[in-house]
Subunit: 426 residues, 2 copies
């Protein structure tokens, strides 16, 4: 935000490339949107001040974030929910017209009704099995939760339908178009916000590692792109985000890949981060994190320079997967940012909000995170969850969803089928 | 469509209520939208011609529909896909501006790219297990399909991301707003079209009954409302759909409830309709359709009139559930229609398309079907799938997803756990 303002007359780009580009582009640039944005960060006098503000809030965010990671899964989830509410608030306000809203009492309430309905639905689905695991000790609670989960979907459906009917019954003449646009906009927001959060929360409970590594890579890529662009940026990358440069993009890619490899080695050694959480408590976690997190030892080749402190290095197999995440975080995830830039340009807004000094709104920081969280989840499901785990998953289902009598019935039935197959084969 | 046009001077409402309402409302009605629509069907001279056209295409539709039901699950699915493509086509065209599109080559292709990506995703999810069941005989195919399914999600994700990047890279200056609006609109269409079809197809494979009964109830309710409104309609129901009357609404509710009860009794007796389909073949179906479809016999009380042909009637328990579906189809599903009406009014369009003579576009016929299909699925999942079935579902999972060795490993593990529990209790 700050870096766009106040860069007045004297701070024009002076590199020959920039000047050339500027002259060529000058007739296609609508002046009200892009007067300043055409200048790269390189050689901008205000950039030092802007960098300071941005660094300051970044440090604060990282500190708060680390504490929350330490506190555990439930707190991280709470953080995601808070972020989510802020994002929804910023986005709900974005295309709102106060004038029209005054004539529609309760219209904003309806948005939040949909928001909390979807929240109930999404988190209910992700966390219901873990909730069951948490209350197995108490027979009454266990039954109650079981019943709640059974009717969870139908409850959410009726909450949604109630909102839907409410919307239709409060349609006002001459406001139809505004109301329908807002309805569509609300649904777009719900998709954006909940795609992000649902996958993020699913990642958290698969093991904080699968949330923390991707999220960190985005932050690292962002900061690295900023720093590389700051010091070396000359060649503009894409018209949508005129402050982004090829130098920043490529430099950040390397930095991110290296960070991914190193970070996975560090994070992969804490069971607190690698174990999946199968209930909703905050207690200590212990598990066999599986072969991905078992270090393999490699002897450093003879020709390696003497100053290299280790003669033997240990590598976790998960580090190779981390490279894939790093590649995605640096090449594809930035498109989330381009999309957000384009959107802001299309609707002539500077930022989605102003919750974080120097960064703009929370939504401005979440654009790439969203693309990344979805990828991390799908990558985890497709390439990490090993075949052998599916026995465990089915076992969980059996123990969670069936009564003891049903478990015995299943056992007998399965025994018969196995007998038949063995008999049929021999 | 036809019934809205050509009702000129002489066909003004003549009932005292209608006249009163007309006078009172006249100053709030914007003339360009509602000059004709303020008149109820009752006493409209053109209504006979319009009814004929509508009846004709309705009969054709019902005939074609019945043949498809007879052919089986795969053909019904194909029908749903065709309907879906037509709907998407109608809706994609709706907010399109030909002028803007000319400057954006390949922009429509992108819409269809998203469409088929979502289609691959949705049907892959619903039908993958059934595909596995179909190819179990051939070891090579079985392995191939297993692999395809394993990478199904990640494939769809990358197809989507490819479209997303394509969108961003083809953003054109001065077209941003149009392009982003179209992007949002595309996503709204995909939600609308695929919510409908995904739930519909899921219903079909749970047993055609769960697709056919709800769909029929909507059609019956629609026709009944039309007929009741035609003969008795005087009191307007809602401003959004000025042709709808309370008489039609209430009459149709009764007709729908009765039809639901009777229809469930008839449909519930065919195994072709009640058995779930667990593979993708079109072969004959045989199963134990469960207690819901076992007739219970009731003796007709003595005081029943002599002309009543049966002394004993058989009722299937599923008929009570059918009443719930009927209630929903007649009270809540019409809101789908109101929503569509409101939408058409907001964007000043008459119909979503003109695929069916007298009915408008396919989308115009699908508005309530969508709300209903979702309800039918959720109702089925929440209230019909009995507890004892979940053993069967888990059994299916075991047999489908695990190799024989894994099945044996699971069997041993489960045996141990059951032993432990029994030992712990005694």
């Amino acid at each position: 935000m700050d870096r766009d303002t106040g860069s007045g007359g004297p701070s024009t780009p002076s590199g020959p490339t920039a000047r050339l580009r500027r002259r060529k582009g000058s007739n296609e640039v609508p002046p009200e949107v892009e007067t300043n944005s055409d200048r790269l960060l390189f050689n901008d006098r205000n950039k030092y001040k802007s960098m300071l503000i941005r660094t300051y809030s970044t440090v604060w965010m990282i500190g708060g974030f680390a504490s929350i990671i330490y506190l555990g899964h439930l707190y991280i989830w709470a953080m995601v929910v808070v972020i989510q509410i802020f994002m929804a608030k910023e986005l709900f306000n974005l295309l709102r017209k106060a004038h029209e809203d005054r004539q529609l009492p309760g219209f904003r309430l309806l948005n939040w009704h949909f928001f909390f309905t979807v929240m109930l639905f999404v988190y209910g689905r992700i966390l219901s099995q873990r909730l069951v695991n948490t209350v197995t000790m108490d027979k009454f609670l266990y039954k109650l939760v079981g019943r709640l989960i059974k009717y969870h979907m139908v409850t959410c459906y009726f909450l949604y339908i109630a909102g839907f009917m409410w919307f239709i019954l409060t349609l006002k003449k001459k406001m139809y178009k505004y109301q329908f646009s807002q309805y569509a906009w609300t649904h777009m927001i719900l998709i954006v916000v909940f795609t992000q959060s649902a996958f993020t929360v699913a990642n958290i409970f698969e093991g904080i590692f699968w949330f923390l590594l991707p999220a960190s890579l985005i932050v690292i890529n962002d900061i690295a792109a900023y720093i590389f662009g700051f010091f070396f940026g000359r060649t503009p990358l894409i018209k949508l985000s005129p402050k982004k440069t090829w130098e920043g993009f490529i430099g950040a890619s390397f930095a991110t890949m290296i960070s991914a490899f190193v970070l996975a080695n560090i994070l992969g050694r804490f069971q607190w981060l690698t174990c999946p959480r199968k209930d909703l408590s905050t207690g200590w976690l212990e598990c066999d994190p599986g072969p991905l997190f078992k270090p393999e030892y490699f002897t450093v080749p003879q020709w390696f320079p003497e100053w290299f402190p280790w003669r033997e290095i240990s590598i976790l197999p998960v580090q190779w997967h981390a490279l894939c995440l790093g590649l995605f975080a640096s090449i594809i995830a930035p498109f989330g940012g381009f999309f957000a830039s384009g959107f802001k340009r299309a609707f002539k807004i500077k930022d989605f909000g102003d919750s974080i000094p120097g960064h703009g709104g929370i939504t401005d920081r979440m654009d790439c995170q969203m693309v990344m969280a979805v990828f991390a989840y799908i990558y985890h499901q497709s390439f990490i969850v090993p075949q052998s785990l599916s026995i465990e998953m089915i076992m969980d289902q059996i123990l969670m969803n069936l009564t003891f009598e049903e478990q015995r019935a299943l056992y007998t039935k399965l025994g018969q089928i196995i007998m038949e197959k063995q008999f049929g084969e021999s």
